[in-house]
């Protein structure tokens, strides 16, 4: 067992790669994506995963090779008395620099699309983070927020039409929260005193988790919501139903 430590270090790339290969069989992976832009994020994630994976394997194998070949107990070769190599330094500076710059430029378009090019639409709902709940305010028939006919819901259930781009106005009533929809690859901190908009297009019907991803106090763990993506018709019907709901109608006035 003169090469015991080489075998130990060999476990790193083997275990490292195996973990990612086995994980999908245990259903541990990027959660199901139901958004239009999510594919871009997932592709970028996988691209970086393969790229860093290749670098990971290559560098680990150089390390393992050295630990085996130049093991002082077995190696008969004299030590190469070298202080470095100018040519090598240039190669391993330029190669990663070019790769990193490539990633930097390659992902700009996606970032700009998700964050910097808002569609010309009015917000379909206002989301307010509040210790420890997500509140939703729909503009009602006049399509204007903060008017008499607004529909306010505090039950943590968000209804949205699928297959169309929706704009959400998001803010916070007290501390920082983060509006995280894992299945839509969306996460945005909400900041009191700051109104932000976010937009996305769901491509499937269904119900998904709304997670608070920013520590917001003792009840952070229970600040849980659900989002329901439905047909446009169903959505309109749901809005009408919520508008008729006397209890919530009253709560709107209470909140002023």
């Amino acid at each position: 067992m003169k090469h015991f430590w080489t075998f130990l270090f060999l476990l790193v790339p083997i275990g490292g790669v195996a973990t990612f290969m086995v994980a999908p069989y245990f259903n541990i992976w990027l959660p199901k994506d139901v958004s239009e832009h999510g594919q871009t994020i997932d592709n970028l994630f996988m691209f970086i995963l393969y790229l860093t994976g290749a670098v990971f394997i290559a560098t680990q194998f150089v390390l393992i090779y050295c630990s085996w070949k130049y093991n002082g107990e077995t190696s008969k070769e004299p030590v190469s008395f070298s202080h470095g190599s100018h040519a090598l330094e240039i190669v391993w500076t330029i190669l990663p620099a070019v790769t990193l710059l490539f990633i930097a430029i390659y992902q700009m378009e996606a970032w700009a699309d998700i964050k910097m090019r808002p569609p010309d639409l009015k917000p379909i709902v206002e989301v307010t983070g509040r210790q420890f709940n997500w509140d939703f305010r729909y503009p009602g028939p006049d399509n204007e927020l903060y008017t008499e006919d607004d529909i306010v819901r505090t039950d943590g259930k968000l209804y949205l039409p699928y297959d169309e781009t929706v704009v959400l106005r998001i803010t916070s009533a007290d501390v920082l929260h983060s509006f995280f929809l894992p299945n839509l690859r969306i996460k945005q901190d909400v900041v009191p005193g700051m109104e932000q908009i976010m937009w996305f297009k769901a491509t499937e019907k269904g119900e998904f988790d709304i997670v608070c991803a920013e520590l917001c106090g003792w009840g952070h763990y229970k600040m849980k919501g659900r989002v329901y993506f439905v047909d446009r018709d169903e959505f309109e019907a749901k809005l009408e139903e919520m508008r008729q709901d006397k209890e919530y109608h009253a709560s709107r006035h209470r909140r002023g």
Binding site: W5, F9, F45, C66, E73, L100, Q107, V191, V211
Partner: protein
């Protein structure tokens, strides 16, 4: 220069002569080696406390809301050992606080910086020994404030180690103590960093040019610069938050701020301002927490590969580059904070670029191993594992540097995996290696190498079992700082994996007993070490083990850099920095 040294020396002797009582020698010592060891012991104790806090977190993630046996009371859980949600947020906050401010920063700069800088540059002490002593004693108010905050009403800080307002402004008393404690750590670091810079610039032995300094010293030097320039911002921000909490200002509060069933009259501020100020310090602090470890690993690798460090100057330029770029990447912590996305883009480019110097360093470490004659001593194993683990921690950083992927993995366990690979698998492993390596110089005895290897083997296996699966947790979006993630449908299937990780975490902490016994036992039973047990070139190995007051029993004169292993000029495979070249030796004998 030499006259200055001699003067300082005689002063020291005068002082030493009339004040050599127990208190002056071991408690209020001015000797950099004693101060270094004081830092080392303090940080090791806090390392244990921080580890206990981590176990509280791991228990809750594996067995949510189940009473925690035995340790429950130690980690501040409620009666019966159940971890209440506010206790959980306290655990995550204080685990990070303790590990960062009381362990990693003081063990690198405080313990090893203090112990090694004068020895490695050939000085008899720090430039300002009194300031050095104060830098240790200013840690104590911090220890008392933050340690004591566990016992005040409402408990210790619960706003995360990042202390984001408005939550932190509305938090209970523990937060004020936390802010004051961190400020004292800052004062201590500031005193240390001024001293380190002055000492390294002014007190090098004759012949010790800047480019003959070991990488450890270069890293300490750059770290000191980072601290000196970044800390004032954190200190100012800390006082602003204290003012918001106690004096009714509103730097970080928007109009009409209410939270935690409290309202604040003030407003007109901006919560994001804190994040900018905090990360302006805390991003450079990330490098404060890794650069000295990199430096020490470089020295250990070269010594046990019996080969010169590959690319010394590129290494120096790399850490300088990291220091420069380190000041313009803080915004990558804020990609989804609500900061202008345009600004995010420029921070993204700077962040991608800062990966470059780290890559260059990694390649140079591999180059150092290539063609060497590796001796697998315990310190060497820790050093090699640092390189292996740092590759993982470095590469996972690229995922979050890329802004679109960061949207998804921000605040998930992917981040937790990333910084634990850098800070535990990286820095902590380097610190273990450094302790095994410099222990003979500190205490004059060797640590047990076989038990050191057992310690290394178990730690290496277990840490990967604890931290590697965090990558795939994060890939599924598993959020950090969440007391009970399993109530979300998306994360329910992750419970068994978390249980496995927690079991490994408990084992990982448990087996550290091997290290503790080896560390303390070797002080009494370890074989006596000579001056240079590792046949190392470093200047510190020419001093007696342990070095007496004033360090060197001769005037060191430096002829070369510290990495001339296996030089064809000499018979042995090492060539100490103080050994005159052969022709010079002949001249002097004639």
């Amino acid at each position: 220069m030499s006259t200055v040294t001699v003067d300082a020396h005689s002063d020291d002797h005068a002082e030493h002569a009339h004040a050599s009582g127990f208190l002056r020698t071991y408690v209020f010592s001015l000797d950099h080696k004693v101060i270094g060891l004081q830092f080392l012991f303090s940080t090791l104790i806090w390392f244990f406390i921080g580890g206990m806090l981590a176990l509280g977190i791991r228990w809750q993630l594996a067995y949510p809301w189940a009473p925690m046996p035995i340790l429950g009371n130690l980690v501040g859980a409620a009666e019966g050992g159940q971890i209440a949600p506010e206790n959980y947020t306290m655990l995550v906050t204080m685990h990070a606080t303790v590990m960062i401010f009381f362990v990693i920063i003081p063990v690198l700069a405080g313990a090893f910086g203090n112990f090694l800088i004068p020895l490695m540059i050939g000085a008899d002490d720090m430039a300002v020994p009194t300031l050095n002593m104060l830098s240790y004693w200013f840690m104590w108010p911090a220890f008392l404030l933050i340690g004591g905050s566990f016992f005040v009403e409402g408990g210790a800080a619960q706003g995360g180690w990042t202390a984001y307002p408005p939550l932190s402004v509305f938090a209970s008393q523990g937060q004020t103590l936390w802010l004051l404690g961190v400020t004292f750590v800052g004062i201590s670091s500031m005193m240390g960093s001024i001293n380190y810079m002055t000492t390294i610039i002014q007190m090098r032995a004759p012949g010790m040019t800047m480019f003959r300094l070991p990488m450890t010293i270069w890293a300490m030097f750059i770290t000191a610069i980072l601290q000196a320039f970044a800390l004032p911002v954190l200190t100012a921000a800390g006082f602003m938050q204290v003012a918001d909490r106690l004096l009714g200002t509103g730097f970080f509060l928007s109009d009409g701020a209410t939270a935690n069933n409290m309202a604040m009259a003030s407003g007109g501020g901006q919560p994001l301002l804190w994040q900018h100020l905090f990360w302006f310090y805390s991003h450079p602090a990330v490098y404060i927490m890794i650069l000295p470890a990199m430096g020490m690993v470089s020295d250990i690798l070269s010594c046990f590969a019996r080969k010169p460090l590959f690319g010394y100057k590129p290494m120096v330029y790399s850490i300088s580059g990291i220091a420069g770029l380190g000041f313009i990447v803080w915004g990558h912590h804020m990609f989804v904070s609500g900061m202008n996305p345009m600004l995010g883009m420029s921070f993204m480019v700077a962040t991608m670029m800062i990966a470059l110097p780290s890559a260059i360093k990694t390649f140079n470490w591999l180059g150092t191993l290539w063609g060497g004659k590796i001796e697998y001593t315990t310190p060497m194993l820790f050093a090699i594992s640092f390189v292996s683990m740092f590759i993982i921690g470095g590469l996972s950083g690229i995922f979050m540097a890329a802004t679109p992927t960061d949207i998804f993995i921000h605040d998930t366990y992917f981040i937790v995996a990333h910084f634990h690979y850098v800070l535990f698998s990286g820095t902590a492993m380097a610190v273990f290696g450094a302790i095994y390596f410099w222990y003979p110089k500190m205490f004059g005895r060797m640590m047990n190498d076989s038990w050191g290897k057992v310690h290394f083997f178990l730690t290496f296996i277990l840490l990967n079992c604890v931290f590697y699966p965090m990558h795939i947790l994060g890939m599924q979006g598993f959020p950090r700082r969440l007391a009970d993630p399993y109530q979300y449908e998306t994360f329910q299937n992750l419970l068994p994996l978390n249980q496995f990780m927690s079991v490994c975490a408990f084992l990982l902490v448990g087996i550290q007993i091997i290290f503790v016994i080896n560390f303390f036992g070797s002080m009494f039973f370890g074989p006596k070490a000579g001056r240079n047990p590792w046949r190392s070139n470093g200047l510190e190995w020419q001093a007696p083990s342990p070095p007496g007051h004033g360090n060197f029993d001769f005037q060191p004169i430096i002829y070369r850099g510290p990495y001339e292993y296996s030089s064809p000029e000499v018979e042995e495979d090492y060539y100490p920095q103080t050994q005159p070249p052969p022709e010079k030796a002949e001249e002097s004998s004639v």
